[in-house]
């Protein structure tokens, strides 16, 4: 068997998320490639939460809608997800908490009195998650030693009691199958947020500022945790307006800086974004999308902020917008977003979404070699310093305080080359031309990068057009159906030529997006390229591989 899907569920506060990570870690050490989808409500205690863990011989960045193992710590998990059971699935459950109804033949059930076990072993209630992991391991023939090692790595509180309860649950449950190891090197397990964090660090990040907001808060937490080690300044200011302006203060002082948020926080950042455009202060913004409008669904996912990212902020200015589709792309483009922001002195926006941000992936370490920090254009002292010197490329050489002999004047008003306020019409036009001219060289630079990627059968007559976290599920559906996938990675400046080239030869183009208005398809259509079908999902949940495959099949 080279593909196994497991669902573990319970109430918020049951340790479901951690259990999902531990199961992923166990399979990872056995050579499997991992994908974990996390589904949780915006609630700290109570409310249904579950993780879908997929372990495969080859990389698959999507979850399956149907599962081989259902691990139910409460009745709701069983009731909500029994429809997902494959024909030979196994249900493992706490029979102190769950009543299992009639199930089709072929499905096996393993009930164990977990509440009683943890009580008798004097372990805390939460260690029922440990017990159910132990039973899963026993069922599929994984050594207790391997399970215990993973448990000890992930659990610190009451670990001995957890191990005691877990080992008893392991002893007292049956062994059903042998799910062998795969002979390949385990990869690190990372979330999109971790990949973004590491990419920023590699790109020379000196400071990170953010106000907490799902799904981007884990970047703040991660970078705060490693701040000392990387000599990084991490600040959580009073609101997103302060985040952005403080970051521009760092930028002015010459320190590479990034900020992270979601749509609502980005709303507050837009005045600072426009300031960055006018004052040519480099800034990187991580915009983790979640469904709106307004507060929306805080802990779910979408791709609704593409238009917003492309047009946020008053006035017209050059910007860079990139939407990575997996952690390797997230790592590379996060470092590149810094390089581009600093080379062109523009805002770079990394569009992420809750699924990319918080899903767990097997990270191919070969990607580490792709990212590097590159210096910006610095003042060479050959001429008197002018912060906004008008040049052929539009890029003015940078100097930072306290550089001697340079008076560095930053200005949010229209300004002359020295940074002094102006309302003169001719200077206004000249400076706007200068700022917009930067896009020419940026476009040239981007031609050598993978701004659009083609996956699957490159000669297929049907192409799926996608972006961001939809990449994984589209690639799998295309593989299943023999289709081509065209993934738009860079959105500003929009790579029209590359998209046209990638879609050339396709007789039918199907846009797959997590929004209601097909935002990427609109951009492509604006170029005169036909998009024949739209498969849109905007309920906050990503497509499972089987669900999308079936939908696309119906359109062929």
């Amino acid at each position: 068997m080279d593909n196994l899907s497991m669902l573990i569920g319970g109430k918020a506060g049951f340790g479901i998320d951690k259990a999902g990570q531990i199961i992923a870690a166990i399979f990872n050490r056995r050579g499997y490639r991992i994908y974990v989808y996390r589904d949780y409500p915006s609630i700290i205690r109570g409310g249904h939460t579950f993780s879908l863990i997929r372990a495969s011989a080859t990389r698959r960045d999507a979850h399956e809608g149907h599962v081989d193992y259902l691990l139910a710590l409460d009745q709701e998990t069983f009731d909500l997800h029994k429809g997902r059971l494959k024909s030979e699935a196994v249900v493992i459950y706490d029979n102190d908490a769950v009543k299992v109804s009639e199930l089709p033949d072929g499905i096996r059930t393993i009930g164990s009195p977990l509440a009683k076990v943890v009580k008798e072993e004097a372990a805390p209630d939460i260690s029922r998650n440990t017990c159910i992991i132990a039973i899963l391991c026993k069922t599929i023939g994984i050594d207790w030693g391997l399970a215990e090692e993973a448990l000890r790595r992930y659990i610190s509180k009451d670990i001995e009691a957890n191990i005691k309860a877990g080992s008893r649950a392991y002893r007292e449950s049956p062994s059903l199958t042998e799910f062998g190891a795969i002979d390949q090197r385990p990869h690190p397990l990372v979330s999109g947020n971790e990949a973004i964090s590491l990419g920023l660090l590699k790109g020379g990040l000196k400071a990170y500022l953010a106000y907490p907001m799902t799904p981007s808060s884990p970047i703040l937490h991660y970078l705060a945790h490693v701040a000392e080690e990387f000599s990084l300044k991490v600040i959580h200011p009073e609101n997103e307006i302060a985040v952005m302006l403080m970051a521009l203060g760092f930028s002015f002082a010459g320190e590479r800086v990034a900020v992270g948020t979601s749509g609502g926080g980005f709303c507050l950042m837009t005045e600072g974004l426009s300031f960055s455009g006018m004052a040519e202060l480099p800034i990187v913004v991580i915009l983790g999308q979640r469904p709106g409008p307004s507060t929306g669904l805080p802990t779910y996912s979408c791709q609704t902020e593409l238009n917003f990212a492309l047009s946020a902020g008053q006035g017209e200015f050059t910007r860079f917008v990139v939407a990575p589709g997996d952690p390797e792309e997230a790592y590379y483009w996060s470092s590149e977003a810094l390089n581009i922001a600093w080379k062109y002195q523009i805002p770079s926006i990394i569009l992420s979404d809750k699924d990319l941000a918080e899903a767990t992936y097997s990270f191919d370490e070969a990607a580490l070699a792709t990212a590097q920090e590159r210096p910006p254009f610095l003042w060479d002292r050959s001429q008197a310093y002018k912060r906004y010197a008008d040049t052929e490329t539009g890029i003015s050489p940078l100097a930072f305080p306290s550089e001697k002999d340079a008076i560095i004047k930053i200005n949010s008003y229209e300004h002359d080359e020295s940074g002094i306020t102006t309302e003169n019409g001719a200077i206004t036009k000249k400076m706007e031309d200068k700022r917009l001219r930067k896009e020419r060289l940026l476009r040239e630079d981007l031609t050598s990068l993978q701004t659009v990627r083609v996956h699957g059968d490159k000669d297929a007559k049907t192409a799926l057009l996608c972006w961001g976290s939809a990449k994984g599920v589209c690639v799998e559906a295309a593989q299943e159906l023999g289709l081509k996938v065209v993934q738009v990675v860079v959105f500003a400046p929009f790579p029209f030529e590359e998209v046209a080239q990638a879609l050339a030869g396709a007789k039918k183009v199907i846009a797959v997006e997590y929004n209601a208005t097909a935002q990427c398809a609109r951009l492509v259509r604006a170029r005169g390229i036909a998009i024949h079908e739209e498969v849109l999902k905007y309920d906050g949940r990503p497509f499972s591989s089987d669900e999308l495959t079936k939908k696309i099949e119906g359109l062929l």
Partner: protein, 280 residues
Amino acid sequence: MMTLGTKTVNTWCPGCGNFAILNAIKTVLGALTEEGLPVENIVLVSGIGCHAKIVDYVNTNSFYSLHGRVFPAATGMKVARPELTVIGHAGDGDAYGEGLEHLIFAAKRNVDITAIIHDNRVYGLTTGQYTPTSPAGFKGRSTPFGTKELPFNPLALMLASGATFIARGTSHGIDLLKKLFREAILHKGFSIVDVLQVCVTYYNMYEYYEKRVYELKDHDPEDFNAAGRKIREWDYNNDGKIAIGVFYTKDAPTFEKSFPSTGTTEDRGQKIRELLKDSI
């Protein structure tokens, strides 16, 4: 002494209180640079409003920010480069209205920057509306029948928020203004000088202030309770005496010193590999 002026044409109204603030800050910065402060370490930050033009008139590094956003920008550059001398000029609409939250947090953090508030108690550049420090009943263009709200006392707010240097001056007492600016800049921590600045066009309080201001004497600025009493003596609304001078000073740890100093980014590849090893 080096010249800190620029060739930019000054567009403040004749008689504007901003001239005194400009002259005072230029004199103080000139003296400090002569005493050894590298001029390239100075950054003036401004908001948006009449006050903000000051950055075009002083030949130092400057950061002409957004309305209300002087102090987060000033905080960012100070944390990034603690060796900088960062002076934030803001109007009363700017600091006490649009950007109040930032001002409170800058005081709370005790970041070592200086706030100079051009407090003319009226919006000048937007042609005459009331501000957070306009007295009750103020008739401005947005409140033709008089405001229905009381002003707040920004210095009481600053004392409560953790500012470690609190002073008030007026735009027609330039010698005191120079002294206050100098002390505020040299103070290690968040310092604020509220300058009662006359707006000759929209709210000319010259005579009103002339009659009421007096300089603090026999006041111990290290006494928090005494500072509170003196700060509350005039509430920006009544017609009583108005104290000017230094109300409060305190030594306290500063925000920018709490961060790791900037290191090299060269060895990060290896550190990243080590972090990833932990997640296998």
